[in-house]
């Protein structure tokens, strides 16, 4: 049994949630559906952990789907780089699934819950599939699986607020345009190289020299994915989508979906075009990305400061955080990319925790979670508040939390390649972020309760995910070597592909 599993790990992590989603959909019992989903995501995580060990001494696992060798068939590649986002998705997936049960039964029509779990697992499967694939077109298919299911999940928030529908619609249209742009890019590349496998493409592109189609293809692919990753001017779908989605969906999407897209940006720019990166536009694109990232940092933070709706506030903050991650990528140095990876992981942990604790506080209202409505709830829900504070301080970059580690490395990288002005900007924006964080903490703890609900008590079922995420936030802030070492290994691996 074991060798069989070991041999097929790369595909098992994708098809486990996928196949379970097909089974879950036809179940009638909500509790059973949840159990199945949890089981599926648990299995996925176990497989991912096994895969981690496997990758750590094989460094590069290639899996031929359908037993056809790569340029003909589709290939899965798992290496030290891709294992990071896979880990994020599967761990957060499990935590969010554990968390989801109470909220789905509450926020969604009873009869739709099992189907919702199906969509939920599809999102997870789609995201993992996106990461593992080494085929440019297969990536598109999984992009669509994940985004269609995510759109549906977002729109399910319409039971609470009709704006969820518009948010879902915009997400869908922008996402589809982005995906189509990506497809155009792939098409142009295919037109000039005749292959779709990423490794194969990377080998063939340098031979083409300064080819206009390749440059345009690169631009289009990047643009397409940047929509999905919500890089600054293309982020407009994100705040509403995260804010109006049902609670568990916000948790899952905020923590994983953009991270995966950013990983793809890295993959495209370094793996496919990396070997010809001196010739091509990446050097100039780097600066475009850099400035966009800086804009994102400030725009997101400032929007968040003036926002009253807490989920939307966190979504705006996500835009800013994506800015940090993209900034790391745009530095195009080993340290920069490593810092991006570090922040990728850490931000997933932070945002998952923040959204979980915030929506847990909104559990009793089912209305929009406003700074006012949650006032004073912190004292009534101490565990939730505790994990919220941990994650919020982590977001602000307080030492001993993961946020600090990522900021530390990001600034180091920025300082090394751009001098002092960039760290300074980063820090100003992160100091600004303290304003909204503090607004929330203060509101939760010091303000008088505005809700007239008597029976507020915490749900014991969500203690586990909340405490786990708070623990992770602290643990990796204290003993960060696991994240840091792996990120550096990944970034070195990426950079070594560039001559």
């Amino acid at each position: 049994m074991m060798p069989f599993i070991i041999k097929n790990l790369p595909i098992l992590i994708v098809i486990t949630p996928l196949m379970f989603s097909l089974i879950v959909a036809v179940l009638n019992n909500n509790r059973l559906a949840w159990t199945f989903s949890t089981f599926a995501s648990f299995l996925t995580m176990i497989f991912t952990i096994l895969l981690c060990f496997e990758v750590s001494y094989k460094s590069n696992i290639s899996y031929y789907l359908g037993n056809w060798p790569p340029p003909l068939g589709i290939e899965y590649v798992i290496d030290r780089i891709s294992i990071i986002p896979i880990m994020i998705v599967s761990v957060i997936g499990l935590i969010a699934t554990l968390f989801a049960h109470n909220f789905f039964t509450l926020e969604i029509d009873e009869k739709l819950v099992s189907k919702t779990y199906s969509l939920w697992l599809l999102t997870i499967a789609g995201l993992i599939g996106l990461i593992t694939t080494a085929d440019a077109f297969n990536l598109f298919v999984f992009l669509e699986i994940s985004s269609l299911s995510a759109v549906a999940l977002v729109a399910l928030g319409s039971k609470v607020d009709r704006k969820a529908l518009v948010a879902g619609y915009n997400y869908l249209i922008l996402g589809a345009v982005g995906a189509t742009f990506y497809v155009i890019g792939v098409g142009l590349l295919y037109g000039v190289t005749g292959t779709l496998n990423m490794g194969d493409l990377a080998q063939k592109i340098p031979a083409l020299g300064l080819n206009k189609s390749v440059i345009v293809a690169f631009t289009f692919m990047m643009l397409g994915i940047m929509v999905k990753a919500a890089v600054f001017p293309l982020h407009i779908w994100l705040p509403n989508a995260y804010a109006y989605a049902p609670s568990p969906v916000s948790v899952l999407l905020a923590a994983t979906s953009t991270k995966v897209s950013i990983y793809i940006i890295v993959r495209i720019s370094y793996t496919i075009f990396g070997s010809s990166y001196e010739i091509y536009s990446f050097e100039s694109l780097r600066y475009i990305l850099l400035y966009l990232a800086i804009l994102a940092m400030f725009a997101g933070t400032i929007m968040a400061i003036f926002e009253k709706d807490v989920k939307k506030l966190l979504a705006h903050s996500s835009v800013a955080q994506i800015g940090y991650i993209v900034l790391g990528i745009s530095l195009a140095t080993s340290t920069g990319i490593a810092s991006s990876f570090i922040h990728l992981i850490n931000h997933a942990l932070i945002k998952a925790g923040l959204f979980m604790s915030i929506v847990a506080m909104g559990y009793y209202t089912l209305k929009r979670i406003d700074v006012k409505t949650i006032a004073g709830l912190g004292r009534q829900l101490p565990i939730t508040f505790f994990s919220f504070v941990i994650c919020a301080l982590s977001l602000a970059g307080l030492p001993l939390t993961v946020g600090f580690i990522s900021k530390l490395y990001l600034i180091k990288a920025a300082y090394i390649s751009e001098g002092i002005w960039l760290p300074f900007l980063i820090l100003v924006s992160s100091a600004l972020s303290l304003i909204y964080i503090w607004k929330l903490i203060e509101g939760l703890w010091y303000n008088e309760k505005s809700l007239k609900i008597e029976k507020i008590k915490e749900l014991p079922e969500i203690y586990l995910p909340l405490l786990v995420i708070a623990f992770l936030n602290i643990y990796f802030g204290v003993d960060a070597s696991l994240i840091i070492d792996n990120s550096f290994i990944a970034s070195d691996a990426l950079m070594s592909g560039i001559k």
Binding site: G191, G194, T365, L366, K367
Partner: protein, 189 residues
């Protein structure tokens, strides 16, 4: 093979005409019918470009199911669009489109010419697929053998996508009476 080229050019221009008409039609039903026709012509184009399977699919999906879905949705929607004045958004859209089109046209100078045998697209893989389909799989329709075997995983993904859409629409258009849970009835008075 000048005939082929002329047919292609004609069809493509025809599509352009239809598309231009679609922009400014305000009657939704006409838009839908024109879109259906657009798909039909595209399918015809696919036939003339030797992509029979694609034509088959485009005909049944683009012209068929899509149109029916549009019509089904239209029964709940206003039948006529609101009049739009030319505004900044249009200028913005036009600029975006011109830039993107400019980029693409610029790129097209380095694209291989249509239909040349020596294009990289035809030099790589294609022959392997055809030979493989003939010798290893034994199915005359190369498209099917790639679809189901070589790139079977893509097709699995595609099936899952359509499944996702099915479930998503099912969930979104579920018209049961929504039940509010007990807690909220108490709390949201």
């Amino acid at each position: 093979m000048i005939g082929e080229i002329i047919i292609n050019a004609f069809l493509v221009t025809l599509m352009l005409t239809i598309a231009i008409f679609i922009i400014n039609t305000r009657k939704v039903i006409s838009t839908i019918l024109l879109t259906g026709t657009y798909s039909l012509v595209a399918a015809l184009m696919f036939v003339s470009l030797d992509a029979v399977d694609v034509a088959f699919t485009e005909a049944s999906v683009g012209a068929g199911i899509s149109t029916i879905l549009f019509l089904a949705a239209l029964s709940y929607l206003p039948k006529e669009e609101k009049e739009e004045k030319f505004n900044v958004k249009h200028i913005y859209a036009i600029c975006t489109c011109i830039i993107v089109a400019g980029l693409l046209i610029w790129a097209s100078y380095d694209l291989p010419l249509v239909g040349q045998l020596e294009n990289p697209v035809h030099q790589n893989l294609a022959q392997d697929f055809i030979e493989g389909s003939r010798n290893h799989i034994g199915i005359p329709n190369v498209v099917t053998s790639i679809l189901a075997s070589y790139r079977g995983y893509d097709t699995f993904g595609e099936t899952v996508v359509i499944y996702t859409a099915g479930i998503a629409v099912l969930v979104l258009l579920y018209d049961g009476v929504s039940k509010t849970s007990k807690i909220h009835k108490e709390n949201n008075k």
